[in-house]
C-alpha cells in the first residue's frame, strides 16, 4: 500500500532552476560530490546522488567520475561546520584540484515536513569559481525528487529535458521509508556549537585517544588508548601484588604487636621488613605508573587539541597515510613535537659486580624521553635521549640496601640501516650515556631492539643496559640489566 501510494503520489513540484548555460571550455571532467542531507537516510542520500551522477553520465556531456573515485579522496578542511564535510567553496576547489577535474557539483537534499528541498552548485575548478546554482523546492514525494533530479541532470548538461521523463520505482524507496521511521526514533544528543579543536580536546580528556579518532587520526587514537590500557593493565598487576604485600604486612605487623613470645617476635621481624619493602616498592612503581599514565593522558590531550580540525589534510584510498593538501608545507606545533617519544620501562639486573654480590636484585621501573635532536654520522642518526631509572639491591636480611635513581643523558645510535636483521620494522639502537646516581656518577652503555606496531605510534622494545658506576657506597662497580619498554612516539 505504501509502495502504491508513493507511486501514485505525484504532487507537482514547484521547480526553480537558476541556470545560465555555460559550455565547458577547458575540459569536461566532472565530479559529483555526495549530496549532503538533512532529514533523509544515508542510503537514500547515496541513491539520489548516484542516480544524479548516472543521469549526467548517460547524457554524455561530461566525463563523470565514478563514485568510488570521487569518494577515494576525503578532505578535511578548516571552517566546515562538521569536520570532514566539504561544503565551502575553498574546500570544493581543493577537492576538485585533487580529483583533477574541471567541474564539481555539490549540493544538499533537505526534508522538512514531508517536503524535499534540493540545492546545488556547479563549480568550475579552472575558473576557481561557482558558475551555476540550482535548486528545487517543495517536492513532496521521494520519487518526485528522483524525477526532478533527473530533470536537473539534463539542465546541468545544458540539454532540454523531455516531457516523457519517468523514474523506475525501486524497493529502495520502501526501504528509505522504513529507515526514515527508524531514524525518527533516534534522538542523538546535540553538543553545543563549540570549536572542533576544543571538541577534540574534550573527547580526549574524557577518553584518551577519542579526540584523535574524532580528528580522523584513528590509529593514533587507538595507539594512545592502547597505551593507557597497557599502563592501566600493568598498574592493575602491580596493585594486585601491592595488595598481597600489604595484606602480608598488615597480618604480620598485627601479629608482631600482639605477640609475647620473643622467639616468634624474632621470626616476625624480618618478615615485616620484607613485606614493608615490597609494599613500598610496588607503591613506588604505582606512583611511576601514575606519572606515566598522567603524562600520556596529558600528551594525549595536547595532541588532540593540536590535531583537532584546523589544517587541511586529505585521506586517500590508502587508509592510514596522510598527505598534506597544500603544496606549501606549514609548520605546526605538532610538527615541532614530531619525533619526540616517551617510553616506560621495567627491568631487572642480571649480572652484578663483586661489591654488590651480597645483594639481591629486584625489578624496577623507569622512563625515557627520546628526542629528534641529533646528528647524522653517515647513515647513522644519533639522537639525544634522557633516561631515568630506579635501581634497588637488598641484602638477604633486608638490613642493608642500595637503592636510588639514575638520570642518564645519552646518545642513541640508530643502527637499523647498518644491521639488516629484522628489517626496518625492527629498529636497532646502540646506547651510550653519562649517568648521575644518588651517590655518584657513572656511564651507561646498552642496546635497544624496538618493534614498531604497524601504523600505530606505539612500539615495544627489548632493552639492555650496563651501568658502570663509581659511587660512595659500592665504589667502582657495575650491573647489567635486561628489560622491556612500551613507547609512544609522536609521528
Amino acid at each position: 500500500m505504501l509502495f502504491v501510494s508513493i507511486l501514485t503520489e505525484g504532487a507537482l513540484a514547484a521547480e526553480k532552476i537558476d541556470w545560465k548555460g555555460i559550455e565547458p571550455k577547458t575540459g569536461n571532467r566532472l565530479a559529483v560530490l555526495e549530496f549532503s542531507s538533512e532529514g533523509i537516510s544515508l542510503p537514500m542520500q547515496n541513491l539520489l546522488t548516484d542516480q544524479f551522477r548516472n543521469n549526467i553520465r548517460k547524457l554524455k556531456m561530461y566525463e563523470v567520475l565514478d563514485a568510488s573515485m570521487t569518494n577515494q579522496v576525503e578532505i578535511f578542511y578548516p571552517g566546515e561546520d562538521v569536520y570532514g564535510e566539504c561544503k565551502s567553496e575553498g574546500c570544493i576547489m581543493e577537492l576538485g584540484k585533487l580529483l583533477k577535474v574541471n567541474y564539481v557539483i555539490a549540493g544538499s537534499i533537505i526534508e522538512k515536513k514531508k517536503e524535499f528541498f534540493v540545492k546545488g552548485k556547479f563549480y568550475s575548478i579552472d575558473l576557481e569559481q561557482e558558475v551555476h546554482g540550482f535548486s528545487m523546492e517543495n517536492v513532496s514525494a521521494v520519487d518526485s525528487v528522483r524525477l526532478e533530479m533527473k530533470r536537473l541532470a539534463y539542465n546541468v548538461s545544458g540539454l532540454e529535458a523531455p516531457d516523457t521523463l519517468t523514474v523506475d520505482a525501486t524497493n529502495k524507496t520502501v526501504v528509505y521509508n522504513s529507515l526514515k521511521k527508524e531514524e525518527k526514533k533516534r534522538q542523538w544528543i546535540k553538543l553545543p556549537n563549540i570549536p572542533s579543536k576544543v571538541k577534540s580536546l574534550i573527547y580526549s580528556t574524557v577518553v584518551p585517544g577519542a579526540g584523535q579518532m574524532y580528528s580522523k587520526r584513528t590509529y593514533t587514537g587507538l595507539g594512545i588508548f592502547g597505551a593507557e590500557m597497557i599502563i592501566g593493565g600493568i598498574a592493575l598487576l602491580a596493585h594486585s601484588n601491592y595488595q598481597k604485600s600489604w595484606g602480608g604486612f598488615e597480618t604480620t605487623y598485627n601479629n608482631y604487636n600482639d605477640e609475647d613470645d620473643p622467639g616468634k617476635l624474632i621470626e616476625l621481624r624480618p618478615k615485616i621488613i620484607e613485606y614493608a619493602k615490597d609494599t613500598d616498592r610496588y607503591n613506588t612503581f604505582l606512583k611511576g605508573l601514575r606519572i606515566a599514565g598522567a603524562s600520556v593522558w596529558g600528551l594525549n590531550m595536547l595532541h588532540a587539541y593540536i590535531v583537532g580540525p584546523d589544517d587541511i589534510f586529505v585521506r586517500t584510498g590508502d587508509i592510514g597515510s596522510f598527505v598534506d593538501a597544500n603544496t606549501k608545507p606549514r609548520m605546526s606545533t605538532w610538527d615541532i613535537l614530531s619525533g619526540f617519544g616517551v617510553r616506560g620501562a621495567i627491568f631487572r639486573p642480571l649480572f652484578k659486580g663483586t661489591s654488590l654480590s651480597a645483594f639481591s636484585s629486584y625489578t624496577d621501573g623507569g622512563f625515557s624521553i627520546v628526542t629528534p635532536i641529533g646528528l647524522y654520522f653517515g647513515s647513522v642518526f644519533t639522537s639525544l635521549t634522557y633516561e631515568s631509572s630506579n635501581y634497588s639491591f637488598y641484602s638477604s636480611g633486608f638490613d642493608k640496601q642500595y637503592i636510588g635513581t639514575s638520570n642518564t643523558v645519552a646518545f642513541s645510535f640508530d643502527l637499523t640501516k647498518k644491521i639488516s636483521f629484522g628489517g626496518n620494522r625492527l629498529r636497532k639502537y646502540a646506547f651510550l650515556g653519562r649517568s648521575s646516581y644518588d651517590d655518584g656518577k657513572g656511564y651507561v652503555i646498552g642496546g635497544d631492539l624496538v618493534y614498531d606496531v604497524s601504523t600505530f605510534p606505539l612500539s615495544f622494545a627489548l632493552i639492555s643496559r650496563a651501568n658502570m658506576v663509581n659511587t660512595s657506597i659500592t665504589g667502582k662497580s657495575m650491573w647489567v640489566t635486561l628489560g622491556v619498554n612500551v613507547g609512544l612516539d609522536i609521528p
Binding site: 598498574a235 604486612f249 608482631y256 617476635l265 609494599t279 607503591n283 606512583k287
Partner: protein, 190 residues
C-alpha cells in the same frame, strides 16, 4: 545481560583509572614490642629473662619467668645458674622449655636444689641436656630453655641475673661464647 557486561567493563576501566590516579599507602611501622629481644639492648648470641621486668606484682601472686636464649647456635647442653632475692620470691618449680626439645622428646633436666624448700641462698642451678636423635644433636634459635614459676613472698625490688657460672655447650662439649647476659627485676608490692 548486555547491561551487566557493560557495567563489568566500565567498573574495570574505572578501577584502572583510580589505581593510576591514586597510589596506595606506604607501609609505616615501628618494631617496638617490649618482648622483642632486639629491643632489649642485647647482642646475640646470649641469654635473657622474659619478661625482663615484673612491675608492681602483688605479694602472694604467682607468675612465671622464662629463661630464653637469643640466636644461640648448636647448643647441646646448658648450666644455667640464677641469682635471685629469696626474700622477695620463692621458686615453685622448674619446667623445661622448647629450646632443647628434639623431634620426639624434651630435654633431660636437673635442678639444684632438687626440692624447692630451702632457698635461703637465692641461687638456682638448672642443668639441661639435648637428647640426640638420628636427625639432630643440637638446638639452634631463640627459644625458651626453661620456665620458672614463682610466688611473690615479700615486698621489695629485687634483681634476677645469670651468674658467670652459666654456660652453654655444643655437642662436642665445646663452650658456646655468649655475649652479655640479659638481666631481670621483680618489683613486688603489697
Amino acid at each position: 545481560m548486555l547491561d551487566l557486561t557493560y557495567h563489568k567493563y566500565f567498573q574495570q576501566v574505572i578501577w584502572i583509572f583510580i589505581i593510576i590516579l591514586f597510589s596506595c599507602n606506604d607501609a609505616e611501622y615501628q618494631l617496638d614490642n617490649e618482648s622483642d629481644p632486639e629491643n632489649l639492648g642485647l647482642e646475640p648470641p646470649t641469654i635473657f629473662f622474659h619478661p625482663s621486668e615484673f612491675d608492681a606484682i602483688k605479694v602472694g601472686a604467682k607468675d612465671t619467668l622464662d629463661l630464653y636464649c637469643y640466636e644461640v647456635s648448636d647448643a647441646a647442653g646448658a648450666h644455667l645458674q640464677i641469682e635471685f632475692d629469696a626474700g622477695v620470691i620463692t621458686i615453685d618449680t622448674v619446667l623445661t622449655g622448647d629450646f632443647f626439645r628434639n623431634d620426639t622428646s624434651g630435654p633431660i633436666m636437673f635442678t639444684d636444689p632438687i626440692v624447692f624448700t630451702d632457698q635461703q641462698n637465692g641461687t638456682l642451678n638448672i642443668y639441661l641436656f639435648y637428647v640426640p636423635s638420628l636427625s639432630s644433636v643440637s638446638a639452634t634459635g631463640t627459644m625458651s630453655m626453661a620456665k620458672v614459676p614463682f610466688t611473690v613472698k615479700g615486698e621489695g625490688s629485687a634483681p634476677i641475673r645469670y651468674t658467670e657460672n652459666t654456660v652453654l655447650r655444643g655437642p662436642s662439649n665445646n663452650s658456646i661464647t655468649l655475649n652479655k647476659f640479659g638481666e631481670g627485676s621483680i618489683n613486688a608490692t603489697q
